[in-house]
């Protein structure tokens, strides 16, 4: 009986993240549009876009290789698996021990590795520029993410996300300097990893500073749909991650009843709304950076994360 519930819970989690991801993106877009006094596309527009793209023919560049056609599926699989391992409404994920926070970071790293390769496959200048900049950003964002994971793991005594979430929700945490630093670092990383303003602009398509859009320029049809869906999943993953580590209240515990799980799901939706709203406000309030300002911005995240870890090493209570 318990196993059945665990499997159902894991399955619910997997379909939940997949189903919610476009909605979150739609919500952020809507709020941004409203803040700019535009009406904005309907909330469900991302779903329609995905379906429309999936139905279209794929137009493949003449010299695209087999790898180019496989990569969207690889990116999607990697991101989906990673997203379904981050606790959302409940902690009792059956397969949460499959990968800890470090492994989730690395899984996203795998997805990015292939994405950067895809940018180079057709052999166009735009693809190359995107890949080259992506790995530059990643070369700072990924260490910052890993070191943030270190500091969080040292506070909670575990790299397993359910354990971390449980610990963060308990009274043992208290107010810690290192936790605050880790939070800021993780937020900056999340902005960079999801190609949001001020690092990259998800709305433009033809701008010399573009990174993500340049890499996927040659994709069309179902391939593009999968890549878009993966980006949306990734945004959801990072929002869930921040919610799970820094706002752990209301998450259902491993042995919760069905009613409690439903409550956890509601609370989770509330957290998504709040964080999505904050993201939209932040993006509206700030301008995009020049490419070579990004390393300084991400370097700050790296240093903050390192400082948080160092504080943990030096003192158990900070």
């Amino acid at each position: 009986m318990n196993e059945l519930r665990d499997i159902l819970s894991q399955g619910a989690q997997m379909s939940l993240v997949l189903g919610l991801a476009p909605l979150l993106t739609g919500f952020v877009r809507k709020v941004k549009a409203r803040l700019l006094r535009r009406r904005g596309p309907p909330l469900l527009q991302p779903y329609r876009d995905l379906i429309r793209l999936m139905r279209k023919d794929v137009v493949l560049a003449d010299n695209a290789s087999w790898l180019f056609r496989v990569i969207p599926y690889l990116i999607f699989a990697g991101t989906w698996v990673a997203a379904s391992l981050v606790p959302t409404f409940g902690n009792g994920l059956l397969f949460s021990w499959t990968a800890d926070l470090i492994a989730i970071t690395a899984l996203l790293g795998s997805a990015r590795f292939f994405q950067a390769l895809a940018g180079m496959d057709v052999g166009t200048a735009f693809g190359g520029i995107g890949s080259s900049r992506e790995v530059m950003i990643a070369s700072l964002a990924e260490p910052a993410m890993l070191i943030t994971a270190f500091s969080v793991a040292m506070i909670a005594g575990s790299t397993q996300l359910p354990t971390v979430a449980e610990f963060m929700g308990s009274d043992a945490v208290g107010l810690r300097v290192s936790l605050g630093m880790a939070f800021v670092a993780l937020t900056i990383v999340a902005l960079a990893e999801n190609a949001r303003i001020p690092i990259d602009n998800p709305a433009t398509h033809l701008e010399l500073t573009m990174v993500h859009e340049a890499m996927v320029l040659e994709y069309s049809g179902r391939h593009l749909a999968l890549i878009d869906l993966s980006s949306q999943l990734k945004l959801l993953l990072y929002v869930s991650l921040i919610a799970c580590v820094f706002l752990p209240w209301g998450t259902a515990t491993a042995d919760a009843s069905v009613a409690r799980l439903a409550l956890g799901a509601l609370v989770y939706l509330g957290k998504l709304t709040v964080l999505g709203f904050l993201l939209a406000v932040f993006e509206t309030a700030i301008a995009k950076m020049r490419v070579f300002r990004i390393p300084e911005f991400l370097g700050a995240a790296l240093m903050l994360a390192l400082l948080a870890t160092l504080l943990r090493f030096v003192s158990g209570s900070l």
Binding site: Q160, L226, F292
Partner: protein, 666 residues
Amino acid sequence: MIAVALWSVAALLALAPAGIVLSTRPRGSIILYGGCLIVTSTLCVTALSGLLYPPQPAPSAILPIGLPWLGAHFRLDALSAFFLVVVNLGGVAASLFALGYGRHEDSPGRVLPFYPAYLAAMNVVVLANDAFSFLVAWEFMSLTSWAMVVSHHRDPENVRAGYVYILMAGFGTLALLLAFGLLASEAGYDFDAIRASHPSAALTGTVVILVLLGAGSKAGLVPLHAWLPLAHPAAPSHVSALMSGVMTKVAVYGFVRIVFDLVPEPVWWWSMVVLLVGGPTATLGVLYALMQRDIKRVLAYSTIENIGIIFTGLGLALAFKAEGLDWVAALAFTAAMLHVFNHALFKSLLFFGAGAVLGATGERDMEKLGGLIHRMPKTAFAMLVGCVAISALPPFNGFVSEWLTFQAILLSPQLPSWGLKLVIPAVGGLLALAAAFAAACFVKLYGISFLGRPRSDVAASAHETDGFSLTAMFALAAFCLISGILPGLFIDALAPVSKDMVGNIMPHQVGLQWLTIVPIAESRSSYNGLLVFLFAALCGTAAATAIHRLASDRLRRAPAWDCGYPEADPAIQYSASSFSQPIRRVFGSVIFGAREIGEMPPPSSALPARLKVELHDLIWEGLYAPIAKAIGFATDRINILQFFSIRRYLTLVFVALVVLLLVVAL
């Protein structure tokens, strides 16, 4: 068991002179590499059985060769067995690859005799149980590999590589000789006697530093790495694979054997030194790799990175062992050994791939490659696996060993020493940076050489490599995946090694639910490569099937879009240098003193504009160049001694005699 190993080594030594004869025969290389393949397979199986079912006590043998009153001692304990597996697995793969690749050798007489001797020397280093045999085999290993580095001696680059290599190898052996000399002052040359002796703390401290210099220079620790990126690419590719994948591991063996086994209990500051060398080695190695455009040189620099990761693991193991936390020491040590194994796999694979590309195009310069995935699809696939594995990405094997190292780092707040508390987070940060750079580096290597459009005619007319080479590459690629998704098997196999070296083992892994690996406790951390792989495969196929069935599976080909620009010259693609330009700009100005100089011709001039990039190897310029200059200066001064008349020589001899007598008298 040890008899089989020694007979196999003897067979390899016998193949060496046979190589001289065989090099003149048309099918000679096939016979020789086939022979090496058989012998190394035997050795590999023997060593594997010695590792999985370690006999108690460890089998040993004494042969009446070597020093007259000492003889040659050999012993096959768990550590030797593990490294014997690594050496001979690399040997099997390289011999198999060379069955195809070695046929294209222009002057087989310069490679064939040395190849089996080189394999034999590495085996003897690992088997030796006394300092004399160890050092002789060590030096033999250096010399035979040197001979193959200069095998293509018409290229002045290779001659220079050989020169720097032989100098650094001599330096390394000297340091090891002094280390053993210090140890032998108490106990003699026999390792068993050294183990039983109790040298003073100052003496063992000196020994550890000397071993770090000696073994570290062979392994490629910064700043002793200068020879490695010159020498490894200069050799034929299967030898490059052995040098990078295997010989650096023999150097790691030397370090582990002496520091973990021969000298008594470690002191915490040893680990400090090792960590302070290992962490920067990892990051600098891969940053250097990112700046290169020669495939084999990228791989050689990436070896330096991986050696840095291994030594970081060893440093952590030393720290935990010194503080009595031997269960964490077992974790860090196992992580380092697993990385030794993993790196031997994927680095050999990548060098084979580079060799296949070199054989097909005659080019090592990435700027002249591109689009090889169309011309060499099988090589491209195997290389892709190697690139993902070395970038430490799940579900492949490189990730597992780095993950274990990170887990050990996360346990280090338990260490009481303040110095270590401050150093270890910094080293953790350096490792994290190195992992991200490695991914960038291999996106570049793969993306520039295998993807895109061909940048030269040779790349456009490349052809797939032969079956032997492909078999070797695919076997290694399969190993990379297996070791990545079933790491528990490999961790358990390493238990006897860890038991011998740090006195404890990691928790037993095989038999855990779903073959998860749990280094400490399930509530703390766990990773299951198998499930990650299965989940990802399932999600990917499910998505593909669903979309193809329900939505659309139509596809048509068209010219590339590229924002509407018509397809231009392949030279418009990103090149290797332009790909790493952002990272060079962010990190290079400090580390390489990088400068970009744009030269614009004056208006109305027809000259092209130029962009020059200056990169400096600050370690070479700051450390090696001054030493070379000082030696050059001194030898110039001393050189006048060569042109004296006989009278002056006699006066010189007389003065020297008087001075010596005075010294003796006083």
